[in-house]
């Protein structure tokens, strides 16, 4: 599937992709990371998170990983999620789309900065 086919990504999905961009995270870890990087403005609910994850797994943006981090951090019940190469491509495509959008917004004076 072409990455563009999934655009525009739902904001929750984009945030989740950004949260797992550098390291595998479990569900609660993703919520914390998203909250921290948006200065507490976006707090994903459990329902939104797992519904998004379920769909992103189906779409092949994420995969569940069996390699666990250091045992002391591990919790038997937790599942860890990792971004797939396809997920990365989709996230890049989404970022491009947004950049393009911002550029247009600047041209029309809706946003500050160089067009």
């Amino acid at each position: 599937m072409e990455p563009d086919a999934l655009l525009p990504l739902p904001p929750a999905a984009f945030h989740i992709l950004m949260a797992v961009a550098d390291e595998d995270r479990h569900g609660y870890g993703i919520i914390q990371d998203v909250s921290a990087s948006t200065n507490g403005e976006l707090k994903l609910s459990a329902g939104t998170l797992y519904r998004s994850i379920q769909r992103m797994l189906e779409q092949g943006l994420l995969l569940e990983t069996r390699d666990r981090p250091a045992p002391e951090d591990d919790d038997e019940r937790r599942r860890y999620y990792r971004i797939t190469p396809f997920g990365r491509e989709v996230a890049k495509a989404e970022a491009n789309r947004l950049t393009h959008l911002v550029r247009l917004a600047r041209k029309s004076g809706f946003a500050t900065g160089r067009a």
């Binding site: 479990h26 569900g27 609660y28 919520i31 609910s45 459990a46 329902g47 939104t48 998170l49 797992y50 519904r51 994850i53 379920q54 769909r55 919790d75 019940r77 937790r78 599942r79």
Partner: protein, 860 residues
């Protein structure tokens, strides 16, 4: 714990995957939200979150299932079309039959508190519903306590003149109580007042909505206008709403009764029907008990006139004949048979398909799809098919319902056609969902139960499932045999009735009615001039063989029965000595081709001043003077002696189906006494033409009548054959519907057999290959496959024949004397079922014979 319970809103598959994770997240957040002030918003937020997201997850699954479904459709459109078609036929037939039954039998009649309305009749040992005399009506009404209100009505037809063409109208004469007690208010205007119903009051009239539209263009200015009804000016005081009908569908006007004192003199002058509204809490039985007591009292007062006369109240639906009720129940039964066949067929189809898809499902299970998930997918599929089929069914029902209109009895005060309403829609929806579940659940459970890859790869056919599918096919065959045989019985009964000799020849005879009954024609002399003029002109028309007037044509009017006395001896049992009385002009027998056996026809010389004569029918002679020469013998009827001058053949006055018609007596048209009962005045004209369609002379006849009497309406212009065909018209309509159902059942059962056998053949290809490799001939293989079909067919036919006999017993009242074990009907039904079995097994058997052993063995 509460959170975990809340998570049950999610689909099971999602819960299994993420429940524990979500609980962890939730417990973390609860820990973070310290204190009760943090907890409350957290719970509110969580509840909203779970409900919202669970709904979205369900929606996601639905979308997935739909895309699977779309793929299925693309892969095998034939399968989907068959399923939709079968579901549509089943649901359509059932919904249409139900809507008509509901309309006629179940739905309350369209009056407020209709269950408290009753009609009141006089009863005699042989008549359970006879009209009342106004005197009895007055006395019974005065003494009974069971009724909140009590009135009476009688049918009438009048000539309407003014505002357009003269017109003959069907209407009712009602007492002032009738319309208020029915409880439907006029749309504009008002009911009759008690004063307007007094003897000598000025004429008033209430119009039906359709008449108001047709004659006054629906204008409010109609109120207060005057119309001429049989020559009397009547003021329009009201218009009833469009849905109103009382006491029957055709009633177009209502007039006040205005009974004069002379109306109450003769207690044997019975022509009105009582109608009452029961007091709340009074049952029909209580009212009947009271009426019987009161009637016994009046009988003691007038022992001679009211010998054996009692009273009875019936609910309004009693106007439907038991035959109509039986027929409608039969239709409903037939439609349920069709639905049953459709459902078993669908179950079979889906079962076969689910088995064929086992491999696919097993693969998906191995890849982690839960059983619940697969069942859900299959259910979504079958429900969707059922919904599309249901929509098609509703469409079929809506188109088919008008065809059923002929099944609604005209005597019933309901509109001709049931309108689609929520009850019908609910029934359709229910049938749809039940069908969906019925043919969805079973295959879904079967297909997913313990399916794993190992089993999925094998192509054997389980014995148990085979038996279930066989049982379904047996049920289909049995149901279709029932329908085929019952239709056969009813067709035989109809042919028998159609073959009955009415006693006259119907071909090339035109009939029409000219109601010469207004004030201008109150006396006999002006009428005689009218008849002579019209008949002379009509007989002079080219192509006319003969023409004659009669009081009323046979089968149109079945009444007019009088007691006959001979030599002044009152008969011991008056009901055994009755005859139907008609006045005729000369040439009536010639026109209807009734044979004249003895003596002469009524003649122009039989005037009122000469001796009163009569022509009688054969059975009259047989009854009163067996073995004697009846000519010049005398009898008395209607209080006057008559001398017999001729004997003619018997005709079936009461209709083809009636077991018995009274002997006939014909009197001379010039010997009608002035002021004699209006109903006996000759108003029906019959014309026999030389050749061709008799309707062609209708315009010329109309011109002749218009020239003789411009204000006279000409009605009921139709060939005599149409009147006789009308005898079987409702039967024909019922038969068309029933045979339609039988045809559908036949088709569906054939599809069922075909489906079962093709499935068997395709799954036994390997076995067949082995058999052929081991030397089985094509004949052996053919016998193997056809044998299976025939053993199923034999069981189904035996079961079906037994059930058909049982339903034939139920339908006996419709069979016109035909025995419910009629050999022809049964052998035809069974033969058709065998043909159906052969047709259904033909293709699969041929496919089996063409199996190439080498390919079959390699395929595994």
């Amino acid at each position: 714990m509460m959170y975990r319970a809340l998570l049950h809103l999610y689909p099971k598959s999602f819960r299994g995957e993420y429940e524990s994770e979500m609980c962890v997240v939730f417990s973390r957040r609860r820990r973070d939200a310290a204190g009760p002030f943090g907890l409350i918003p957290l719970w509110i937020e969580t509840i909203f979150d779970v409900v919202f997201n669970a709904a979205l997850v369900h929606l996601d699954l639905l979308r997935q299932d739909l895309s699977y479904f779309a793929r299925t459709l693309r892969q095998s459109p034939g399968y989907a079309l068959t399923v939709i078609g079968i579901a549509g036929l089943g649901i359509g037939a059932t919904t249409a039959a139900f809507s008509i039954t509901d309309h006629v039998l179940l739905r309350p009649l369209p009056y407020p508190d209709a269950d408290r309305l009753v009609t009141v009749w006089e009863t005699e040992p042989h008549y359970s519903r006879g009209e009342l005399s106004p005197a009895n009506y007055r006395d019974w009404k005065g003494q009974s306590k069971s009724f909140e209100a009590f009135g009476a009505y009688t049918d009438l037809s009048v000539n309407l003149v003014g505002e357009g063409e003269p017109e003959r109208l069907m209407g009712e004469v009602v007492t002032a109580e009738v319309l208020p007690l029915i409880g439907v208010k006029p749309m504009i205007g008002r009911w009759f007042t008690a004063d307007e119903d007094r003897h000598g009051a000025a004429g008033t009239v209430i119009l039906s909505y359709s008449l108001w539209q047709a004659r006054f263009g629906g204008s409010n200015a109609a109120l207060g206008k005057s119309v001429l009804l049989d020559g009397e000016p009547c003021t329009v005081i009201g218009v009833m709403p469009p849905s109103f009908a009382f006491p029957r569908r055709e009633s177009e006007i209502w007039l006040p009764s205005r009974f004069g004192p002379e109306r109450f003199e003769d207690r044997s002058d019975t022509y009105i029907v009582g109608v009452g509204r029961l007091r709340p809490g009074v049952s029909l039985e209580q009212a009947n008990a009271e009426l019987r007591l009161i009637a016994a009292q009046t009988e003691r007062q007038y022992p001679k006139e009211l010998k054996d006369v009692s009273a009875a109240a019936y609910d309004l639906r009693a106007a439907i004949s038991p035959q109509s009720k039986t027929m409608l129940s039969a239709l409903l039964g037939a439609s349920l048979c069709v639905l049953l066949i459709a459902c078993t067929n669908l179950a079979n189809l889906l079962l076969a398909r689910a088995l064929a898809r086992r491999k696919e499902l097993a693969v998906r299970r191995a890849l982690g799809a839960g059983r619940e998930r697969l069942v859900r997918q299959l259910l979504t599929e079958s429900l969707l098919l059922a919904l599309v089929g249901g929509a098609l069914g509703m469409l079929i029902a809506l188109t088919a319902t008008p065809l059923f209109a002929a099944l609604v009895p005209t005597r019933l005060p309901v509109v001709a056609l049931p309108s689609a309403d929520w009850r019908i829609l609910a029934f359709g929806a229910l049938a749809t969902v039940l069908t969906g579940l019925a043919f969805g659940v079973l295959p879904a459970l079967k297909a997913t139960g313990g399916a794993d890859l190992r089993e999925g790869s094998r192509s054997g056919v389980g014995g148990k499932k085979e038996r279930l599918r066989g049982a379904l096919v047996v049920a289909e065959i049995a149901a279709s045999v029932v329908l085929l045989v019952t239709s056969g019985l009813l067709i035989r009964a109809m042919l028998w009735i159609q073959g009955t000799d009415p006693g006259f020849r119907t071909e090339r005879v035109l009939t029409l009615v000219t109601p010469v009954t207004g004030p201008r024609y109150a006396k006999t002399v002006p009428r005689i001039a009218f008849y002579k003029r019209v008949l002379a002109d009509v007989r002079a028309l080219p192509g006319v063989e003969s023409a004659a007037y009669i009081s009323a044509l046979p089968m149109v009017w079945r009444g007019g029965i009088w007691t006959i006395t001979i030599n002044g001896q009152q008969p011991a049992d008056p009901s055994s000595q009755r005859a139907s009385i008609r006045f005729v002009t000369p040439d009536f027998y010639k026109t209807l081709a009734i044979p004249l056996h003895l003596g002469r026809d009524v003649a122009e010389s039989d005037v009122i001043a000469s001796p009163l004569i009569a022509v009688v029918s054969e059975s009259f002679v047989k009854q009163f003077w067996p073995g004697e020469n009846p000519l010049r013998k005398r009898f008395n009827t209607q209080g006057e002696d008559r001398v017999v001058v001729g004997v003619v053949g018997d005709i079936r006055v009461r209709g083809l189906e009636a077991q018995y018609s009274e002997p006939q007596v014909y009197l001379a048209y010039q010997q009608v006494r002035d002021g004699w009962f209006v109903g006996y005045i000759p108003t029906s004209l019959a014309i026999r033409t030389v050749q061709g369609d008799p309707s062609q002379i209708a315009p010329a006849v109309r011109r002749i009548i218009a020239k003789a009497e411009p204000q006279l309406p000409v009605t009921n212009v139709r060939p005599l054959s149409e009147i006789v065909a009308g005898e079987t018209a409702s039967r024909k309509a019922q038969l068309v519907v029933l045979s339609g159902f039988a045809g559908i059942a036949f088709l569906l059962a054939a599809i069922g057999i075909h489906g079962l056998l093709s499935f068997t053949v395709s799954h036994r290809t390997q076995e067949i290959g082995v058999r052929m490799a081991l030397g089985a001939t094509r004949g052996n293989i053919m016998r193997l496959i056809a044998g299976e079909a025939f053993s199923l067919a034999m069981i189904g036919i035996l079961l079906g024949a037994a059930m058909a006999y049982a339903s034939g017993l139920e339908l006996q009242s419709l069979l016109a004397g035909l025995k419910p074990n009629d050999v022809d009907a049964f052998s035809a039904g069974i033969l058709l079922s065998l043909v159906m079995t052969i047709a259904g097994s033909c293709l699969p058997a041929m496919r089996a014979v063409r199996v190439d052993p080498a390919t079959a063995l390699r395929a595994e």
